[in-house]
């Protein structure tokens, strides 16, 4: 039995993730004008074609390469002692505090609380007709799965084989794949929640939805 309250407290205690931007390879570092406390943004644009805020340049063999911020956040620390120095690959350069968004927190808790049934191979997945029908009519959380139940169809190169569920008995809480999408091996397909915990999880999600304050 998972202690969701404890988990939530843990997230609340540190509502952010620290991202350490490291030197991707050796080279001489020159930092861009970023200071601790400044806000940075990650890649933007409809196709993420605009790179994030420039953090530093790394020069190797007269080849100057920009290091942009990977995600939105606030600069926690800039390791200015490396300015103009030659660094090895993996040397931390900048630390960014990325405040978790509402969606990320929910995702984090769900990943901990649910049992994730993962894809055994790269293929397209479909629910079997009965399950599909039920999901469509009565929504998620209406389908109960138990060990050995055939509930998915694996479709690959027009070969379709049934897939049986293995894991604890429970209710399908979330579906992680779309119709017709290829799912990589090991990616989660569905999240299953034990029936007795359903209300608890729903409570937590509702609370996060209403209470969690997102950093602008």
């Amino acid at each position: 039995m998972l202690n969701i309250k404890e988990l939530l407290d843990k997230v609340k205690a540190s509502p952010y993730r620290e991202i350490v931007v490291r030197a991707p390879h050796t080279g001489v570092v020159s930092f861009a004008a970023v200071k601790p406390g400044e806000k940075v943004h990650g890649p933007r644009g409809e196709f993420l074609e605009k790179p994030g805020t420039l953090l530093a340049h790394l020069t190797r063999e007269k080849n100057e390469k920009p290091i942009p911020a990977p995600e939105k956040g606030v600069i926690e620390a800039v390791h200015t002692q490396h300015e103009g120095q030659f660094v090895e690959a993996g040397e931390p350069l900048v630390t960014i505090k990325h405040y978790l968004t509402r969606k990320e927190v929910i995702e984090l808790i769900l990943q901990e609380a649910l049992y994730l049934f993962r894809a055994p191979e790269r293929a397209k997945y479909y629910f079997v007709p009965e399950v599909d029908q039920k999901l469509k009519v009565s929504g998620k959380r209406s389908v109960k799965v138990q060990d050995g139940m055939e509930f998915l169809i694996v479709s690959r190169m027009k070969r379709e084989t049934p897939l049986a569920y293995s894991g604890p008995e429970g209710i399908i809480y979330s579906v992680y794949f779309g119709r017709g999408d290829n799912v990589d091996e090991g990616e989660p397909l569905i999240g299953v929640c034990p029936e007795d915990q359903l209300t608890v999880i729903q409570d937590v999600v509702a609370r996060i939805q209403s209470e969690w304050e997102e950093e602008a």
Binding site: E49, R60, E61
Partner: protein
């Protein structure tokens, strides 16, 4: 009720005047507004309505003011006139000019592209005491009066394809085509059949369309206008504009604006003035044949007199076109030419033409376009050189006729005969001798077992590790020319590093040995055009011609002279086009290169002329014609319509060359966009691209500016162009020469000398 309507009409007129003159503070406008306001106020007070005389008086005042304001119109005002929703549109013309019409190819919203309207229309005319119907195919962009689904007359590629389809229908039915250009520009969708490629196809087919074509220009924006504008006669409405780019676009380029910013109205005004886009300018430059005077401040749907004028003009112009090629030129032809009065209707002429007349028509159209834009370039060739070139040209033509047509054809026939005979003989010999050989083999023992002797030399060659004298161990670079960038001692990262994890490249390796190709992912770094000149086309051995043709500043565009001079100084070229004769693996060919360092490889009058002359030379010499596009940003906007007109001109030249049986090959490199791709490059049946190049109608910036849709970063990549069917192959830079040679041997035309 009638008065209400009249007052509403006046209100519309006032709003129209205000829209046209934007925010200009003019005394006449203020006076009009004041008088009209006064009238309305009184009207409000007296519910009985205003008096008839009062209305007449204020209508007169409106007429007077409009005439007065008409004399003060600036080019930008004219642009606002043609864009106004009250401006006449094609539907109005169909209703009021023709006697009857049937829309074909879709109607209203139920249309593959509602911005292109096609109709079979009829002029009903009385000849003697009999009524005859003269059919025409009407093709034109439809803006509609503010109908959103018309997309403002911006035609999508499939709309242009539809237009072309019905031009061919008209050709089959042998009826004239009337085209109406009402477009601010084509819509830049990169999808089959392709914005640029379809316009190119339209131009190519119109260059040889065997029916009379009359075009009427109201709003002619660059490529969209050209798609249906290649005509025997071009009439322009006096308040229209015909331009290479919208004034806003020109201003954005001039000011070097980033996306999202807006140019100042003053700069836009200035650009509109400098681009010489009005009817008067175009008539003076010879790009339209006649200007049709519109009512003051532009024609609106209520100007019925104007429609009558347009009808007369259309009939007369079509008559003129037809009579100019008719074999029986009677008194009517003269009457048509001299008729300036309203009696165009009284002269009747059959608009169907005989086959020989159609030949003459096409020839005349092609000649007409060939002689355009002479003033917009500088020909520095001396008189003697020119005379020598002309004589040489005649000699070549005569020589190739003698050698390849007169003698060559006989030789070919003879060869074919011998080939057939040889094959026949081989078969016969085989049939007769094989049984004999078999019996001999059976009788004589040990005959078949003799081992072939292995020579010492062969053994040596097979067992040796390397043969330095054979060139297996290369010393230094294999390229005849390497980029000066290879002298730099530094590394460079491949742009595909995120997806392909390419290691960093040492610049001397990359630009020296690898020819600018990433060995790990195959990304092609941009390469100087000189690399291709030397390594592919053997420029040092080749013969360059028309070197003295020089780009100038025909419109007197501000500061463009200095920019041109700078480009000439930096590149040592006189224009963006280099034309020369060379031989690729023993096959002689004519090559035209558009090089990007000279003003982005943009095409103006000089470049167009060089291209045409190269195509003509290739025709005369029976040689293949290769266009290598190192990069082109499009048509040079600073030359205005002088640049745009190169689209039909060069396409006609290419068409003439291909019709004469030549092989026209296009090879794109780096970035090729806009006008040239939408005309003389895009019409080639053999188009190839060097890997990692971009091909498209409008660049990503222009697309997001005009359509408001952001395009994916790889939208214009060569592989996408290939999958959309716009080009026909992608080549590696290091294999360009080999592939070119292969193509020369396997593709194209019947009239090549080496066939």
């Amino acid at each position: 009720m009638d008065r209400e309507r009249r007052i509403q009409g006046l209100r519309d007129r006032l709003a129209y005047i205000r829209d046209i003159f934007a925010d200009r503070d003019d005394e006449s406008i203020r006076l009009l507004a004041a008088k009209f306001g006064e009238l309305l106020e009184r009207h409000q007070a007296k519910p009985g309505g205003v008096k008839r005389e009062e209305l007449a008086r204020i209508a007169d005042l409106f007429d007077f003011s409009e005439r007065k304001l008409d004399t003060t119109l600036t080019p930008m005002d004219r642009v606002r006139i043609v864009r106004h929703p009250q401006r006449i549109c094609l539907k109005d013309i169909l209703e009021n000019v023709y006697d009857n019409y049937t829309e074909i190819g879709g109607r209203g919203e139920y249309n593959i592209d509602p911005s292109m309207l096609i109709a079979r229309a009829v002029f009903s005319r009385r000849v003697g005491d009999k009524v005859t119907n003269q059919m025409v195919m009407v093709i034109g962009q439809e803006k509609g009066h503010g109908e959103a689904f018309r997309n403002g007359g911006s035609v999508k590629p499939w709309g242009n394809a539809k237009a072309l389809h019905y031009m061919k229908v008209a050709e089959t039915e042998n009826i004239p085509v009337h085209t109406f250009v009402f477009t601010p520009g084509a819509y830049p969708v990169e999808d089959w059949p392709g914005a640029a490629q379809q316009i190119a196809r339209n131009l190519y087919d119109m260059a040889g369309l065997r029916v009379p074509v009359v075009a009427v220009f109201s709003e002619g924006g660059s490529g969209g206008a050209e798609a249906i504008g290649l005509a025997d006669r071009r009439i322009m409405l006096s308040h229209g504009y015909y331009s290479v780019i919208s004034p806003e676009g020109a201003a954005a380029i001039e000011a070097g604006l980033r996306s999202g910013e807006r140019a100042t109205p003053e700069l836009i005004e200035k650009c509109a003035r400098q681009l010489c886009i009005t009817a008067g300018d175009n008539l003076q430059n010879g790009y339209v044949d006649r200007v049709l005077q519109e009512p003051p401040l532009g024609a609106r749907p209520s100007h019925y007199d104007f429609f009558r004028e347009l009808r007369r003009e259309l009939i007369q112009t079509t008559n003129e076109v037809v009579s100019s090629v008719k074999s029986m030129k009677l008194y009517r032809a003269m009457a048509v030419r001299t008729s300036k009065t309203d009696d165009a209707e009284s002269i009747y002429m059959r608009w169907t033409l005989s086959q020989s007349a159609l030949d003459r028509l096409v020839e005349q159209r092609q000649r007409k376009f060939r002689s355009m834009s002479r003033h917009a370039r500088l020909d520095g060739t001396g008189v003697v050189t020119r005379a020598v070139a002309a004589t040489k040209g005649t000699i070549w033509a005569a020589h190739s006729f003698l050698r390849y047509d007169l003698l060559g054809r006989q030789k070919k026939r003879l060869n074919a005969m011998f080939e057939d005979l040889g094959a026949e003989a081989h078969l016969v010999r085989h049939k007769v001798l094989m049984p004999l050989k078999k019996t001999l083999d059976k009788i004589l023992p040990g005959n078949g077992t003799a081992q072939p002797k292995v020579g010492e030399a062969v053994k040596e060659r097979l067992t040796r590790l390397s043969c330095p004298e054979d060139g297996a161990c290369l010393v230094g670079s294999e390229w005849a020319w390497t980029s000066p960038r290879s002298q730099e001692d530094r590394t460079i990262s491949c742009p595909n590093v995120r997806t392909h994890h390419c290691p960093d490249l040492w610049v001397p390796d990359l630009f020296g040995d690898f020819a600018g190709v990433c060995p790990s992912c195959g990304h092609h770094f941009p390469m100087e055009y000189r690399w291709y000149l030397q390594n592919v086309f053997d420029y040092s051995e080749s013969k360059e011609f028309n070197q003295q043709l020089e780009s100038i500043n025909p419109l007197g565009y501000e500061k463009f002279d200095t920019k041109l001079d700078k480009a000439k100084e930096r590149t040592g070229l006189k224009s963006a086009c280099i034309t020369f004769e060379t031989s690729i693996e023993e096959v002689d060919a004519v090559v035209a290169v558009l090089c990007a360092p000279f003003r982005g490889g943009s095409v103006g009058a000089a470049e167009g002329e060089k291209f045409i002359r190269a195509a003509e030379r290739a025709t005369r010499k029976r040689q293949p014609f290769i266009a290598y596009v190192h990069g082109t940003a499009g048509i040079r906007i600073q030359e205005g319509v002088n640049g745009v007109i190169q689209m039909p001109r060069c396409t006609i030249a290419v068409r003439r060359y291909i019709d004469a049986g030549g092989l026209y090959l296009v090879l794109y490199d780096t970035n090729s966009y806009a006008g040239p791709v939408a005309s003389f490059l895009g019409c080639s049946p053999y188009q190839f691209a060097v890997q990692s190049s971009n091909i498209g109608f409008a660049g990503p910036g222009v697309i997001s500016e005009t359509t408001g849709i952001a395009v994916p970063p790889n939208y214009h990549k060569a592989y996408h162009a290939l999958s959309r069917g716009h080009i026909h192959g992608i080549w590696d830079r290091r294999e360009v020469k080999k592939n070119l040679h292969q193509s020369l041997l396997t593709m194209g035309g019947r009239n090549l000398y080496y066939r």
